[in-house]
Structures are given as structure tokens and as C-alpha cells.
């Protein structure tokens, strides 16, 4: 008798399995791995010294600093908003819940360029509010606040969308149990709700962070791409590329890719370290 006779019902035949694995690996190689390698190859085409030199330029350095600052401000804010929104949606019953969930998804369905334009129209110097803000020394468009607004708008759904299904699945019973044991609302949140959602929260934050650093469209519209001032890493890459400075462009692109890889490595390390807890927090 061959092994195939005892194949579990949910398993594919060996041939089908190989074809599926092959397809997945090929797809990954062509779509993800090859372009990533190409970026690094292009960046190092004239040697590592040339790449480092391009990074040492004032504009490149300013772009890196700006992008990290934007992420450091907008990601924590979006994490807080995302947790609040998911908590509100899953722990309370109210009318218009479905509408609110749709609203949270809005940034995914609106093109980032359109989102950027909306911010320009609302806060730009041509609007009453924008003019007032500029007059009082708080410009939003073509300045940091606008970039943060645009980034937050585009990355808002990541945390909430990651949390809502997890929190719906977990229900309210544990929170209610904590209440009956005498814990107040804040204590319940910190000791029960948050620990139960921390992995989903971490994924949401990492996705949010990757997108916040990589966002191009909305930021390009809102920032005005002023070199050394409002140009972020992605917009600087595009400008360098347009000017045929391909070593500089690809080096900066490699930096962006490395930042993304760092977050992935962090995530993997955390998962390895807390594998036992991760298993324990899953539904019994």
C-alpha cells in the first residue's frame, strides 16, 4: 500500500502540493525578492563609497530625519486612535455601527492623492481656515503638520482593522469578569483588554509604520516637496530619480527598504521570544 492511502483528508496530493509551493515561491521571487535585490544592486553600482557619499548630502539626511519624525508622531497617534475606535466598536452596541466601520475603511478606498488634495483644500492658504492659520504662524500645508495629517489619514485603518476582528472574536466576557472582581474601567483596559490584543496591535502598528514611512501620493501633494525642508524619503527618491541621480535615488530607496526590514526582524524576534505566550493567548 502506498503512503497516499493514508493521506489526511485535508491534504493535497504530493503533485498538487509541489505545484502550489512552486507557484508561491516563484511569485515571491519575482514580485518581492528580485525587486528588493535590484534596489540594493543599483544602490551599490558605483561602490559603497559613492552610496555613502550620496547619503551624506544635506537633503538626503534631512529627508531621513523628516520621515522618521513623521512616523514617530503619526504611528503612536494612530495606534491610540485605532485602539479607541476598535474598543468603541466592539465593546458597545449602538446605532450606526456598520457606518462607522465603513468610515474607518475610507482611507483605503480613497486614492492618497485625493486625500492630499482634500487636506490642501481644507487647510491651504486659499481657504479661510488655512489663511488664518498661516497668518498666525501655523502653516499646515507645505509644512510638517500637513504631512502628519496626510500620513495619519492614509494609515488610519491599519491598527483598527487589525484589532476589530480579534476583539469581536474575544467578546466581552473577560472584561465583565474583571469588573465583577472589582476592577475599574482603566484597570480592566490595562490588565485584560490590552494584553489580549497586544499581538494584533503590534502587527497593526508595524503595518502602519511601514506605510507611514513609505507613503508617497498624499505626502507629495501636501508637502510641496521642498528639498531639505518638507521632502520625505519617498518624495526625495522620486526627485533624485527624475534627475537621473540613480545611485543617490537607489541608495535612499535601500535605506527605506532596510527600515522596513528592521521592523520585520523586530516582529520576528518578539514572536520568537514570546512564542509560549502567543500560543497561550489563542482561543482554547
Amino acid at each position: 500500500m502506498s503512503d497516499a492511502t493514508f493521506r489526511p483528508a485535508t491534504e493535497e496530493t504530493p503533485l498538487a502540493r509541489r505545484i502550489l509551493i512552486g507557484l508561491a515561491v516563484t511569485g515571491l521571487l519575482i514580485l518581492v525578492f528580485a525587486p528588493l535585490v535590484a534596489v540594493f544592486v543599483e544602490a551599490l553600482r558605483d561602490g559603497i563609497m559613492a552610496s555613502l557619499e550620496s547619503l551624506a548630502s544635506r537633503d538626503a539626511w534631512a529627508a531621513i530625519k523628516l520621515t522618521l519624525t513623521i512616523a514617530a508622531i503619526s504611528v503612536p497617534l494612530n495606534a491610540i486612535f485605532g485602539v479607541a475606535a476598535a474598543w468603541f466598536i466592539t465593546k458597545f452596541d449602538f446605532r450606526g455601527k456598520a457606518f462607522l466601520i465603513t468610515l474607518i475603511d475610507l482611507p483605503f478606498s480613497v486614492s492618497p492623492v485625493v486625500a492630499g488634495l482634500c487636506i490642501v483644500l481644507t487647510f491651504g492658504a486659499n481657504s479661510a481656515m488655512g489663511a488664518w492659520l498661516v497668518d498666525n504662524g501655523y502653516p499646515i500645508v507645505f509644512a510638517m503638520p500637513g504631512i502628519i495629517l496626510a500620513t495619519m489619514f492614509v494609515t488610519f485603518p491599519f491598527v483598527a482593522r487589525e484589532l476589530i476582528p480579534v476583539m469581536i472574536e474575544q467578546g466581552r466576557a473577560e472584561e465583565e469578569a474583571a469588573l465583577t472582581l472589582g476592577a475599574g474601567g482603566w484597570r480592566v483596559f490595562w490588565t485584560v483588554t490590552l494584553p489580549n490584543i497586544r499581538w494584533a496591535l503590534l502587527y497593526g502598528v508595524l503595518l502602519c509604520n511601514a506605510r507611514a514611512m513609505g507613503e508617497f501620493g498624499a505626502v507629495a501633494v501636501v508637502s510641496g516637496k521642498i528639498r531639505g525642508e518638507t521632502a520625505t524619503i519617498p518624495t526625495t527618491i522620486e526627485m533624485l530619480y527624475q534627475e537621473y541621480l540613480s545611485v543617490a535615488a537607489f541608495t535612499l530607496a535601500a535605506v527605506l527598504a532596510l527600515l522596513a526590514l528592521v521592523t520585520l526582524v523586530l516582529k520576528t524576534l518578539l514572536e520568537l521570544r514570546h512564542a509560549d505566550q502567543l500560543a497561550a493567548t489563542h482561543r482554547h
Binding site: 466576557a173 465583565e176 469578569a177 472582581l181 490588565t191 489580549n196 482554547h284
Partner: protein, 239 residues
């Protein structure tokens, strides 16, 4: 503690989960709320525990109006149908939760908390599982941990929603006796929900038969068996 339910009703939107019901539970009694699915048993229990507020009526604890008390102030030991153990905490931390949640002034020392948790683990006859996570326990063990966690806060009453619901027949029988023993040693006024009439009749001092948000009959098991008050009760207990 003596519990009195005075003309309590509960409305969920258009559905009436409870029509005005009244019930007096003497101090130290072991009472079963018995009825078919959807009869309002859980709703009544949650109102007692302060997890749900009644649409009208009052709850009295030892003669004092407790209707407005928050869930924390009620100090009811609540055992949930799904046990609702904190999945990211060990059994030890689960049981210690209520003590750790107390305000600093009344919170016991660490060593005292550990002593009490150990004592409760002994009480539920699972002395060695403190370091485990809920996912590493059997259903019956989880149920007993949930009971220990509820007892840890030195509750004024014990409220249990289908405490043996998801367990097999043999474990149910054991745990029934376990609950009876714990009730007898602590002397706590205890209310448990069940839709299993054998369980209600065997375990409870007083059985409250419910149907469609109304109380059909209140009585000792043998009285309900001997003299069903309504056609529904006769039908239900002969089933």
C-alpha cells in the same frame, strides 16, 4: 446575604427579557434558576451581579436598596458560562486578580495573596496548577478555577451561569457535589442557572422555574415535583 428581587423587568429594545418578576432568596440558600432557553435566566442573574441594569424594579441586599450599586460595589462572585478566564494570565494570577485589583489601602500583601491563592487551589482540589495557563486546562479544571477566582474576592454572594453546561455527564456529577460542598463550607447565598432539571432538583434548596421572562413557580424540589403550579411546570419537569 438575603437577596430580594422586587418587580424587576428588563427590556432589550422591543423584546421583553423579563416581565416584572419578584423573588426572595433567604440568606445562605442555594437557589436554582431553571427554565428553557431564552426564558430570562441569564438576564436575571446578570441584573443581580450588576452587569445589566433593570428597566424597572429594585434589587435589595439585606433589606438595603442595591439597584444603583455598580458591578464592583456588589461584590458578587460571578462564574460565567464560558468561564471567561483571563487567557494571558496563569491560573495563579487569575485567582489573584480580584485581590490585586483592590485599592492600596485594603489590598493584602504579596505573601498574603499567595497564601490565599494557594488555599483556594487546595479548596478546588487542584493544588499544582498555579503556573499553568487556562488553555492548558481541561473544561472541568477551568470551571473550578473560575469558581476559585470568584471566591477569592470574599464575595457577598455566588452567581453561576450554567456552571456545568459544557461538561460531560461524569464531570458534571463530580462538580455538582463540589459546588454543594463549597456552598456548605462558605455559607454563601448562591444562585445558579441551569436548564437541566435533574441538576436543579438534586442540588438546590429552592428551585425557581422560569419561562418566557416570567417566574412560573418557586419551591423546594420535592414540592415542585409533587405539585406543579402551572401546566408549563408540569410539562417541563416531566420532560
Amino acid at each position: 446575604m438575603h437577596i430580594e428581587i422586587d418587580e424587576i423587568s428588563k427590556q432589550f429594545g422591543a423584546t421583553a427579557a423579563l416581565h416584572p418578576v419578584s423573588l426572595a432568596i433567604p440568606s445562605g440558600a442555594l437557589v436554582a434558576l431553571l427554565g428553557p432557553s431564552g426564558s430570562g435566566k441569564t438576564t436575571l442573574l446578570r441584573i443581580l451581579g450588576g452587569l445589566e441594569y433593570p428597566t424597572s424594579g429594585r434589587v435589595l441586599f439585606d433589606g438595603q436598596d442595591a439597584t444603583g450599586l455598580t458591578v464592583q460595589q456588589r461584590r458578587a462572585g460571578f462564574v460565567f458560562q464560558s468561564y471567561a478566564l483571563f487567557r494571558h494570565m496563569t491560573v495563579f494570577d487569575n485567582i489573584a486578580y480580584g485581590l490585586n485589583a483592590r485599592p492600596r489601602a485594603t489590598r493584602p500583601q504579596k505573601a498574603e495573596i499567595a497564601r490565599r491563592v494557594t488555599k483556594l487551589l487546595d479548596l478546588i482540589q487542584l493544588p499544582d496548577i498555579g503556573a499553568r495557563y487556562p488553555s492548558q486546562l481541561s473544561g472541568g479544571q477551568r470551571q473550578r478555577v473560575a469558581l476559585a477566582r470568584a471566591l477569592a474576592i470574599e464575595p457577598r454572594m455566588l452567581l453561576l451561569d450554567e456552571p456545568f453546561g459544557a461538561l460531560d455527564a461524569k464531570v458534571r456529577k463530580e462538580l455538582r457535589q463540589g459546588l454543594r460542598d463549597i456552598h456548605d463550607t462558605t455559607g454563601l447565598t448562591t444562585v445558579f442557572v441551569t436548564h437541566d432539571q435533574d441538576e436543579a432538583m438534586e442540588l438546590a434548596d429552592v428551585v425557581v422555574v422560569m419561562s418566557m421572562g416570567r417566574i412560573e413557580q418557586i419551591g423546594k424540589p420535592q414540592d415542585i415535583r409533587a405539585r406543579p403550579a402551572t401546566p408549563f411546570v408540569r410539562e417541563f419537569i416531566s420532560a
